[in-house]
Symmetry: C2
Amino acid sequence: MKRKYDKAFENVIRLQVMSILMANERFDFNGFKEMMEVSDGNLSTHLRTLEKLEYIAVEKSFVGRKPQTNYWATTKGRLAFQEHLNYLENLIKEHKS
Amino acid sequence: MKRKYDKAFENVIRLQVMSILMANERFDFNGFKEMMEVSDGNLSTHLRTLEKLEYIAVEKSFVGRKPQTNYWATTKGRLAFQEHLNYLENLIKEHKS
DNA sequence: TAATTTTACTTTGTATTTCAAAGTACTTTA
DNA sequence: TAAAGTACTTTGAAATACAAAGTAAAATTA
């Protein structure tokens, strides 16, 4: 079980985004907005940060006549997140024993 | 079991400091330095941040003829940290079930 | 014993990050 | 067709991070 602290997940928004994308195959911008208390601009920049790291991928399309931006977690992202959770899990475990 | 995400613990150094102070009644500046890979200045500022939040307290004294700065976790700090760990624990649990 | 180095930190300044407000490019409603 | 809404992106000021430089005393070396 590999453990690795990842700075990318030091922010709650990015932590939550990744958490949601682990449980949901795909999620769109508005979906995130509803799940979290976050301004549009803030959400957008954090999504872009994760995208630049290739932890998530994006697809833009139109639903009806409205734009929709969909996100999903990449394998790289899933691995990194899991390793980060392993780090945290271990840290927590130390405080239980 | 109260859960609460705390920005104060978004940084690894502060996370580790707090973790060490949960397990050890007291710890000094050099002790932290040995435990972590961190520059003196960096460590100093993070300790001060935790101090300003009243999550840790400080006592300066001399051991022999050398100055020694000792730190310990306050009740407020212990509570905040525990609640933060609870938040993380819950997040991790969601990914196991 | 004077000069140099080390110790135990703190302060400073630059770089990076954060996030709300403003902006964009439409679509929908009145 | 004007005004309001939607689905984002960009911008800029403020906060944060951290290495380098600074400080003050102690220990070592010459």
